[in-house]
């Protein structure tokens, strides 16, 4: 597995080297070096938080250009259900799906179809009672990677089933081969994605040797193309083949509601996610059956490649639900097909460890604590690390120097004009004389 194959990239020309992204990264994977942000690839989980907060728009998600469609004889679009939430006043999903056929795709296969099958399979597995509780959903790849890096103890709780995206892609290729008689390699399967984490999951699959997808286009790139066609549609095809359960996966709580059980937690937003994962680790949530985890606030509609605010998108989807059946897709013979299971479990990545053996790590930790005590504790980020403790850790790992801290330098210089420097007081404008 190539851990360097990330989709979150930096545009060096735009980056000012500010502190916004380093502070927000949940795995402390970014440092500012030589005035530019630099991502530590082993730590990055492609959650897209840095793309969201960068005021210069210097962080971007590497995604496919529409040119790659030319490499395939038959092109299938796999829209994420979050796409439907982007449109205002939409009351027929078929409008969106029909428009895909006018922008270069031969067919569509809704990811919400895959979601309904994954929901049913999860229901069956929970009923069988063989899974380690609480079961953690595996649909959000950023969460799977977060667990791999920061919570390796929880790997055994992760549901080892294809994500709706992968399951839909697997079935879409089978269907396309049946429909056209073409070779599987002549068929291009493309995900319409709300987030960069999913793009990385195609290049670097989770639980699978190889992804069933050939590429991904961002919702925000496809949206204007679709809208242009949707505005001049006369007739819509009869294409929608999923219901409330599948489309519900677009927002946080949808995957949980589909299980028809009450002992669940649906958590979203990376800070909340980390807190809940800590609680699972401390065995405080053993009475819960299922934990749906989405790295983005609001669920997939909160992905950084969406166009609409996640809360507005949720409202759009509520409107759409009215006209949908509960579910349109069911497993044959109430059995989980073998191909829906993962090939391999998640593998822990131990990038957070200070050293390979505990003795060495203890020595480094002692040194780290001593250095951290000397640092000012302001967490200003000027050294390029997200916090004073992170700088101390970089120092003991040999990646930074104490002199990278501007306050350390100030004190080491012994410059009296800098001693005890504190931020300025409130400045008031000069008082105007009151007129009687």
């Amino acid at each position: 597995m190539n851990v360097l194959n990330h989709s979150v990239r930096l545009d060096e020309d735009k980056c000012k080297g500010c502190m916004n992204c380093i502070k927000r990264c949940p795995t402390e994977a970014i440092r500012v070096r030589n005035g530019k942000a630099s991502i530590i690839p082993e730590r990055c989980i492609d959650c897209g938080e840095c793309i969201r907060v960068c005021p210069q728009h210097a962080k971007r998600a590497d995604r496919d250009s529409f040119d790659i469609l030319a490499n395939y004889k038959y092109k299938v679009a796999l829209p994420a259900p979050s796409l439907y939430g982007q449109f205002n006043n939409l009351d027929d999903i078929d409008c969106v799906l029909t428009a895909f056929k006018m922008i270069g795709f031969d067919d569509i296969f809704e990811v919400s179809k895959g979601a309904e099958l994954v929901s049913e399979a999860t229901r069956l597995l929970l009923k069988r009672g063989e899974l380690k509780k609480p079961v953690i959903s595996s649909a959000c790849p950023a969460v799977c990677r977060l667990i791999r890096v920061r919570f390796p103890n929880l790997i055994s709780h992760v549901l080892e089933l294809n994500s709706p995206m992968e399951e839909a892609a697997r079935l879409a290729r089978i269907k396309a081969v049946e429909d056209t008689g073409l070779k599987p390699t002549d068929i291009g399967i493309f995900f319409i994605t709300p987030c960069p984490a999913k793009i990385t999951a195609i290049k670097q699959p989770i639980g699978l040797e190889k992804s069933n997808l050939d590429g991904a286009f961002a919702i925000k790139d496809v949206y204007p193309k679709l809208l242009a066609q949707m505005n001049r549609l006369d007739v819509t095809g009869n294409l929608r083949d999923s219901g409330i359960i599948g489309v519900g996966w677009a927002t946080s709580g949808g995957a949980s509601a589909a299980l028809l059980r009450e002992r669940y937690i649906a958590v979203d937003g990376i800070e909340n996610v980390i807190q809940v994962l800590e609680e699972i680790e401390d065995e405080k949530l053993n009475n819960i059956d299922f934990i749906e985890i989405n790295a983005c606030t609001g669920g997939c509609v909160g992905g950084v490649l969406c166009t609409e605010n996640p809360f507005v998108a949720r409202s759009h989807l509520q409107h759409l639900r009215k006209y949908l059946p509960v579910s349109c897709n069911h497993l044959e013979g109430e059995k989980v097909p073998k191909a829906m299971n993962w090939d391999t479990s998640l593998k822990a990545i131990s990038v957070l460890k200070l050293a390979d053996n505990v003795e060495d790590a203890l020595d480094l930790m002692k040194e780290l604590n001593t250095i951290a005590e000397r640092l000012p504790g302001l967490d200003c980020g000027t050294c390029g690390a997200p916090s004073c403790r992170a700088l101390a850790e970089d120092i003991v790992r040999g990646l930074a120097l104490e002199s990278d801290c501007v306050f350390y330098m100030r004190d080491a210089q012994g410059n009296p004009s800098f001693q005890g420097l504190v931020p300025p007081p409130f400045r008031k404008p000069p008082k105007k004389e009151e007129t009687p």
């Binding site: 920061r150 390796p152 103890n153 800590e278 680790e281 401390d282 065995e283 131990s350 957070l352 460890k353 200070l354 050293a355 390979d356 053996n357 505990v358 003795e359 790590a361 203890l362 020595d363 930790m365 002692k366 604590n369 850790e393």
Partner: protein, 146 residues
């Protein structure tokens, strides 16, 4: 053998902060690469001790010593002391007030859980003076897995 010492002052006046120290220790242990089960045992046993300290004793101090073979947690408070230790060790027995129970604590699982997750527990308590709980958790050698 290297020994890492950590010290925490536990504020007894703020419930919402109880559990912070055990959370910090867990993060340190992960960075040290200790055996995963030992990390879980330490963080649960220490969490229970920390909560007890806040609920019953108005705070106190926690000293943690970590080596590659053993984690020792010493919780010291100057609270009311435990009148009947064997009763307090029973699952479900609690002297917590209704106020505290309404916050979801006081289930009478604190000391029993410490005993469950620790390899050794020693309780030294005197009514009206305070309580010192010493928890030891053995760390299996996990270098073989690397």
């Amino acid at each position: 053998m290297s020994i890492l010492k950590l010290h925490y002052d536990i504020d007894g006046s703020d419930f919402t902060r109880a559990g912070e120290a055990s959370g910090k220790v867990k993060r340190v242990l992960k960075k040290l690469g200790l055996d995963a089960e030992a990390i879980r045992n330490v963080s649960i046993a220490m969490y229970e001790g920390e909560i007890n300290m806040v609920i019953h004793a108005g705070g106190g101090e926690i000293d943690v010593e970590i080596s590659s073979e053993l984690v020792t947690i010493v919780l010291t408070d100057h609270g009311p002391g435990i009148e009947d230790v064997s009763l307090a060790m029973k699952e479900g027995y609690s002297t917590a007030t209704d106020n505290i129970r309404s916050l979801g604590f006081g289930a009478g699982m604190g000391l029993p859980n410490i005993k469950k997750y620790a390899n050794e527990v020693a309780i030294d308590t005197k009514v009206g003076v305070g309580t010192t709980i010493t928890i030891k958790i053995y760390v299996p050698d996990c270098s073989a897995e690397l």
